[in-house]
């Protein structure tokens, strides 16, 4: 064994010191021949005869050399090194071609690797927890009302924990805002209410101190809370003595028992930022309803760890059985027509589900870009090979086999491709920060995107694969040379053969077809974006600034100064009164947090179920709508039209009859033929408060506001008067032409002047928020536009190349035609023909492919069908225009050829 290794290394060594080994061999052969000659001369031969005899005795010197080399070295490797040296030389001789090739390949490969880097981090890599595939989210659905994720009640959570037999641990997931004091300054923080099992469920440990666990179980909130590394640095200066420190959260005292590591992130949706504070509760004592009631679903949801050996499907089956059993036990809480159900979904897919369609479309797009680059390279190489006909013919004549030539040419293309991949990888690794900053910040797990080994491995594989892909056809084509013919023909400036033109034609047609697909994809997104921009948001965002105010929720209801309607109304009225004194003030309104458009409020429990008085029980709970509380000025300030009935007034207070305003979508869905003045019965209001079911009269109808974004559908919505209920969080809407920064400070000053414990946060202009709501769409659109432009450019180059060759080839013919009296117009038309045919073929094929591929994009489109006519008509026109230009330039050149020159050449 040893000696095999020894030989292997000796061979490698000789490979590296090839020149020295060759010189040594020559010297030895020379000495051998000299000795033989001496011998023959000693036997009496003449020097000339002796020399011949020596050579004869030695046998073929060249053969001996070759045998020696074969034995000495690793032949295939040596030949590859030869090929590489040769390829480098031949590429350096043609730096224009080499740099264009490397650049386009770097773009194609780089785009793919970048998108894969994101896909890998966001979708493929498991979440950074123990056995992340067993982490699931649990949702309550009321399928009878078409309502998903309506929240969970405490008894339901307890059933899941104790009776389902599905989870080894389960925790409520309750993201809330909180006012934090006791650190450097009072601020609003993102808090996550959980049950004590949360950290054990994730298998997460604190970086400093400890996390809470089963032993900390309390009916209300547990005293010990855990903070994030970010909050620790910001509020406590990274001081390790923070453990045991008392802080006030919404006016209640807690003790910090642990700090999480910097990389730890709650794997789920939050209100507006990463979770900074974790607090455990039993949810069965103040501030929560005690005893808990089954139908009060104030918990936004739960997260669980499946028992070992249980698949998601099996777990779902057991939950279905539990639902059926609970339905029999509590027929009032779970009426059959409501079709209440428990649904589980893997945490990872819940977290990243929203981003999946976008990444899928981008992956497909970059795939197309690379294909176009590959086809373009192939066509460039075919063109180039015509210039090398002579070189290849000579090499064949000297005895190179066809396989050897193919290998040589493939080495060249793979080398170019690797250079492109290397450039792409280097750019991605070096510019990771700026590139990630281009991406919409709301993409989950973006911090985990790294261009590391698995991602760079893809860059390597893609380089090799594309090198072979675009190199093989031209290599096979070029190596099929017939030395006899080519040495004669190729001598004449290497005019391209008919065969070569046909091959290039096919390649260019493919390129055009692929470009059409990309252009259609980009076109559909442009059209969607255009439509989304023109959508009426339902309010006037100009000169409108929003500031949010968090109202602390102490655990003891008696300590909550804003638990009833009167103080909330008083606070709002005072803020509005003082706001009038601000410079540049035009108008102002107040609302609950759910009244702010474009704020992610899908998880803050703002859905409400309702019924019509007098309806039978079986009809109950099949209707749901979003709910928001607003002050009387709200619709005036937002300039949302009142369609029927009246707006709220200052007289709608807790002392008067309860009233509601609904939006147009509500009317369309539930009241197609009914007028305002109808009464309905609302089931619950504002999260976990103890509001009984109450009857309410609909007094008005307003236009739809696109609360979930310009490109998202509007849900039925019920507006309630802010002054008739309590609020946990409020927003001030201020219409004013003056600047944002001054306004923020002035507004915060007003609020703090009224109540110093109320944090003001999230001050944005409504126009910023409108624009931010389009970030993802804009991002996808931007990338697709770049890809499509690249595709168009490459296709144009491809067409131009083929046309230029054809025209050059037919110069003589055109010259004759012109000499015989053909008009320039006739010649241009004649010259255009092949290019136009290629383009038409490509566009036709592209449209067929695109009509299939576009359907995959449906979820990214808005107001546009995947077979959108303007796009499918516009793209061919654009492409045809560009292609025509690319054809026209060489065609015009054809008319400029002086007939005499053409005839003489």
């Amino acid at each position: 064994m040893m000696r095999h290794w020894r030989r292997f290394f000796a061979k490698l060594g000789s490979l590296l010191r090839r020149g020295r080994a060759e010189r040594e061999l020559d010297r030895e052969i020379a000495s051998h021949l000299a000795l033989l000659e001496d011998e023959f001369q000693r036997r009496g031969m003449s020097p000339a005869d002796a020399r011949l005899a020596a050579l004869r005795a030695y046998g073929g010197v060249e053969q001996a050399r070759e045998l020696h080399r074969e034995e000495r070295s690793i032949l295939w490797l040596e030949q590859s090194l030869q090929d590489i040296r040769f390829a480098v030389r031949s590429l350096l001789k043609n730096p224009g071609f080499a740099s264009v090739a490397v650049l386009t390949l770097a773009l194609g490969i780089g785009a793919n690797v970048a998108i894969f880097g994101v896909v890998h981090a966001v979708l493929l890599r498991p979440l950074p927890f123990q056995q992340p595939e067993r982490l699931v989210r649990v949702f309550d659905d009321v399928n009878g009302a078409g309502a998903k994720d309506i929240g969970m009640s405490v008894p339901e959570l307890e059933d899941l924990r104790d009776r389902s037999g599905v989870f080894s641990r389960i925790s409520a997931i309750f993201p809330v805002s909180a006012a934090l004091s006791g650190g450097d300054h009072a601020e609003r923080v993102e808090m996550l209410g959980t049950t004590v099992d949360y950290f054990q469920l994730l298998g997460a440990k604190a970086a400093l101190g400890r996390v809470y666990g089963t032993a900390d179980r309390m009916p209300g909130f547990t005293d010990g809370v855990v903070i994030s590394d970010g909050l620790w640095q910001r509020q406590f200066g990274g001081d390790p003595r923070v453990l045991g420190r008392r802080i006030r959260v919404d006016e209640d005292g807690y003790t910090i028992i642990g700090v999480m590591p910097p990389g730890f992130r709650h794997p789920g949706q939050t209100l507006s930022a990463d979770v900074e504070l974790w607090a455990a509760a039993g949810f069965t004592a103040d501030p929560f309803l005690s005893p808990p009631v089954r139908a009060r679903r104030f918990l936004p949801g739960a997260m669980g760890r499946l028992r070992p050996g249980l698949t998601v499907q099996q777990a779902q089956q057991r939950l279905d059985a539990l639902v059926a059993q609970l339905g029999r036990t509590y027929p009032t809480e779970y009426p059959a027509p409501a079709k209440w159900a428990l649904r589980i979904e893997e945490v990872q897919s819940d977290l990243t589900g929203g981003i999946r369609p976008m990444l899928a479309v981008l992956s497909a797009a970059v795939g197309f870009v690379l294909l176009i680059v590959v086809v373009n390279m192939a066509s460039l190489l075919v063109a180039r090979s015509s210039a090398r006909v002579r070189e290849l013919a000579i090499r064949r004549a000297l005895g190179a086999s066809r396989a050897r030539l193919v290998r040589q040419l493939l080495t060249e293309s793979v080398l170019v491709s690797l250079a492109g991949g290397l450039a792409a990888g280097a750019v991605l690794v070096l510019a990771r920060g700026p590139l990630l900053a281009l991406m919409p910040a709301d993409i989950p797990r973006l911090n985990e995107v790294h261009f590391d080994a698995p991602v760079l491995a893809l860059a390597f594989l893609l380089s090799i694969a594309s090198g072979i892909l675009f190199g093989l056809t031209p290599a096979l084509y070029a190596s099929r040379s017939d030395p006899g013919r080519d040495l004669k023909e190729g001598g004449r400036s290497g005019s391209p053969s008919r065969r070569q033109n046909r091959l290039r034609g096919v390649l260019v047609t493919a390129e055009v077809a692929l470009s059409v697909v990309l252009l259609i994809g980009a076109g559909l997104l442009v059209h969607s974006f255009w439509d989304a921009l023109r959508v009426n948001p339902g309010f006037d965002p100009r000169d409108l600034t929003v500031a949010r105010i968090w109202i602390p929720q102490p655990n003891n209801p008696k300590a909550n100064r804003y638990i009833t309607a009167a103080p909330v109304a008083a606070l709002s009225r005072e803020i509005l009164r003082q706001a009038k004194t601000l410079p540049g003030f035009e108008d102002a309104a107040m609302g609950g947090t759910d009244s702010v458009p474009f704020v992610n409020n899908s998880i803050s429990g703002s859905r409400i179920t309702f019924s019509w008085p007098g309806e039978s029980d079986s009809g109950q709970k099949q209707q749901s709508a979003e709910v928001a509380a607003v002050s009387p000025e709200f619709f005036r300030v937002l300039r949302t039209p009142l369609l029927r009935g009246r707006a709220f007034t200052d007289d709608d207070t807790d002392k008067t009859r309860r009233v509601a305003i609904v939006n147009e979508s509500f009317v369309k869905k539930y009241l197609p033929r009914r007028d305002p003045g109808l009464r309905m019965r609302l089931d619950r209001f504002l999260g976990f408060r103890r509001d009984p079911t109450f009857e309410i009269e609909i007094v008005g109808v307003v236009g739809d506001i696109r609360d979930h974004g310009m490109d998202a559908p509007v849900s039925p919505r019920i507006y309630l008067p802010l002054y008739q209920g309590a609020a946990a969080e409020m927003a001030v809407f201020l219409r004013s032409a003056s600047g944002n920064v001054a306004m923020t400070q002035a507004l915060a000053g007003i609020v703090h002047g009224i109540d110093a414990d109320l944090p003001v946060y999230g001050v944005r202009t409504m126009q910023e928020m409108t624009s931010a709501s389009m970030t993802r769409r804009r991002f996808v659109l931007f990338l697709m536009a770049v890809f499509a432009a690249l595709a168009l450019f490459l296709a144009a180059i491809g067409i131009y190349g083929v046309m230029a060759y054809t025209v050059a080839q037919r110069a003589q013919e055109f010259g004759v035609r012109m000499a015989l009296g053909a008009q320039p117009r006739d010649v241009v038309l004649l010259a255009l023909r092949p290019g136009v045919l290629l383009t038409l073929g490509g566009v036709g094929a592209g449209l067929v492919i695109a009509s299939g591929v576009a359907r995959l994009m449906t979820s990214l489109l808005f107001g546009v069908s995947p077979s959108d006519l303007p796009t499918f008509l516009g793209v061919p026109v654009v492409l045809a225009a560009v292609a025509l230009l690319a054809c026209w330039i060489p065609a015009r050149r054809a008319t400029r050829i002086p007939p005499m020159t053409a005839l003489r050449s």
Partner: protein, 107 residues
């Protein structure tokens, strides 16, 4: 007569072991002499065997001068080479005996 692959290595090794350091021509001439021209090989075919043996570390080449003042590369057997020669000789005898026995046996 063709030489069985691998046997040439053994022969060269043996030659170097008994004659001391030799150049390629010397080895070739010696082989021709011993075989009585029965083993008529092109002297160039010796080179692969020499490379193989050298890369295995069994022989070592060193440039020197012949008595006629010509430069030549002298190969000498190494200690590992001697060990290998013993082993290989034993193996060869075993194999040759086996082949002989099989050829002489009536089945």
């Amino acid at each position: 007569m063709q030489v069985l692959q691998g046997t040439l290595d053994l022969i060269v090794l043996r030659t170097l072991a008994s004659m001391g350091p030799q150049h390629a021509y010397g080895v070739a001439a010696r082989l021709q002499q011993v075989s009585g021209d029965l083993l008529n090989l092109n002297q160039g075919t010796l080179y692969p065997a020499l490379v193989r043996l050298e890369q295995q570390g069994w022989i070592k080449g060193k440039w020197g001068t012949t008595e006629n003042g010509r430069e030549a590369k002298y190969y000498s057997i190494t200690r590992a080479g001697r060990k290998a020669l013993d082993e290989e000789t034993g193996r060869w005898r075993q194999l040759a005996g086996l082949v002989e026995k099989l050829l002489g046996t009536e089945f």
